[in-house]
Amino acid sequence: MNGAAFIVISMVTLAAALAAAVLPNLMHAAFCLVLSLLGLASFFFLLGAEFVGLALVFIYIGAVAVLIVFTILLTRRDSKVHYGLNWSGVVIAFAVFGGLTWAILKTQSLSIVPPQARAITVKRIGETLMTGYVWPLQCVGLLLTAALIGALVLVMEEKK
């Protein structure tokens, strides 16, 4: 059952990712990107890492996708124009793909059986964040607060 689910989800994810890369209409591409992100989240669910999957849905579909869609809407007026194929982009993409494939095939961890990991519960993530990773967590919190205040300052009305 897990195998069948894996195949179905990966097909959907890959098809959506491909569509996001090649569709001429940017808005369609953005929605396909959302679909492929949803596929990624379901992979995490399939692996039992619910929290990561939910965070992915929460952040990427709930916030980043809306941001992307808004950016497209507010900046592009020529969404119907076709630019043709960008050959340098194709070359770079294939180079990156080739490099990654080579690196993955060279690693030895592929042949080692993974150790039986404990299920990642929300509780364990919370404990880890509050003990071993408390400094990084605080730093990220400070950064995000600064970003929030910065956003508020940016949109504040200027007093005359």
Partner: protein, 395 residues
């Protein structure tokens, strides 16, 4: 006897599954899910039909009218007539619309609303989808609503639709923050993101009389009010139905929809309302627990749906009494008042916890909330006394 009645649906599902005892494991899993899904859909679609007619009846009652009273006894068959009307109406898709996304938007919206219903515990052992981070699931899935509304607004290729979608996203984003932060104190105190455990944490009674629902603590009461208002905004209900404000922008993102797609939008809106009220019941009103120990013989799901009905009645009541708010005022309240108050609830809950969860903690957390509330009210008081009224956008 009472416990048998309490668990009747759980036993019913087990009995249905016992027919498949010899089937392979995956078939049992799928059947089990399907039974839960069918039960959820049956209950909530019936509730939607009932709500649509009751809302009109209650609104009418409050405005001194009769309301629908032609179809069936007391007009109770009105939803059937409405459904038939919606089904046989012509489905119009604008020529310049994006056909696929125009079709997908109501589907996604309804699907999201139904998914969020799955994690709420409706009674003892009656959660359709038990998951470790149930609360997180609720909000993660619910955040796709914004995308669906945007799809509807953009695909319609209509300026009113687009304006409505923009307004919807602006208000949903702004109010999602207080909505989620008011959940934090509950999660902190219960020590779990699982709705079942949160309900379980509210099960005891202080002195044997007062139930330990979170709404009876100062931070819980404040958080509940904030949560309820944010929930009103998230489900686009009056007085916060700015996105579809029919006096300004026709019907917002639903302008170009007709027939059953329009009905699907309504369905999604009501299901979203049920979901957010159900979550409010779970988080603050003790879920399926009875208000008195003596009343525990009444099955748990009846208590849940009784509390849900009370909240839904308040929704209708507000719709009957309050006018629509202005967009900028709404945003101001979200960022300047709701958000600081939500953070205060978190702090007050921590104070309550560390002062011993007793009377002392109760008073200390009340003090924190009253202090911040009065400070905010003084700071945000911008009324200029005896000044000429200035209109910024209409002169």
């Amino acid at each position: 006897m009472s416990s048998a009645l309490d668990q009747i649906f759980v036993h019913g599902k087990r009995w249905l599954l016992s027919w498949f005892a010899d089937a392979p494991n995956w078939l049992i899993q799928i059947t089990s899910s399907l039974i839960s899904i069918f039960a959820l859909l049956a209950v909530f679609l019936t509730l939607f039909a009932l709500m649509s007619v009751l809302e009109r009846k209650i609104l009418a009652r409050m405005q001194n009218r009769y309301g629908p009273n032609r179809v069936g006894p007391f007009g109770l068959f009105q939803p059937v007539a409405d459904g038939i009307k919606m089904l046989i109406k012509e489905d119009i898709v604008p020529a310049r619309a994006d056909k696929i996304i125009h079709f997908l938007a109501p589907v996604v919206l309804a699907a999201v609303a139904i998914l969020t219903l799955g994690v709420i515990p409706y009674g003892r052992n009656m959660t359709a989808f038990t998951i470790d981070g149930g609360i997180l699931f609720f909000f993660a899935v619910g955040s796709a609503t914004e995308l669906a509304v945007f799809m509807a607004g953009w695909a319609s290729n209509n300026k009113f639709s687009m304006l409505g979608a923009m307004r919807a996203i602006a208000q949903m984003f702004s109010y999602e923050l207080p909505l989620i932060i008011t959940v934090l104190p509950v999660v902190m105190v219960a020590g779990s993101l699982m709705p079942d455990k949160i309900v379980f944490a509210q099960g005891e009674y202080t002195l044997g009389i007062v139930p330990r629902w979170f709404v009876f603590t100062p931070w819980g009461a404040a958080a509940f009010i904030l949560f309820f208002v944010s929930g009103l905004v998230e489900s686009n209900r009056t007085p916060f139905d700015v996105p579809e404000g029919e006096s300004e922008i026709v019907a917002g993102h639903m302008t170009e929809y007709s027939g059953f797609k329009y009905a699907t939008f309504f369905l999604a809106e009501y299901l979203g309302m049920f979901a957010i009220s159900g979550l409010a019941v779970t988080l603050f009103l003790g879920g399926w627990h009875a208000p008195l120990r003596a009343l525990e013989f009444i099955p748990s799901y009846i208590w849940f749906f009784a509390k849900l009905s009370v909240l839904l009645f308040v929704y209708i009541w507000l719709r009957a009494t309050l006018p629509r708010t202005r967009v900028d005022q709404m945003m101001n309240v979200a960022w300047k008042f709701m958000l600081p108050m939500a953070f205060t609830c978190v702090i007050a809950a921590a104070v309550w916890h560390y002062a011993g969860r007793g009377l002392r903690g109760w008073l200390w957390s009340l003090l924190v909330i009253v202090f911040v509330y009065s400070a905010l009210s003084i700071l945000l008081d911008t009324r200029r006394k005896f000044a000429r009224r200035v209109y910024r956008f209409a002169e």
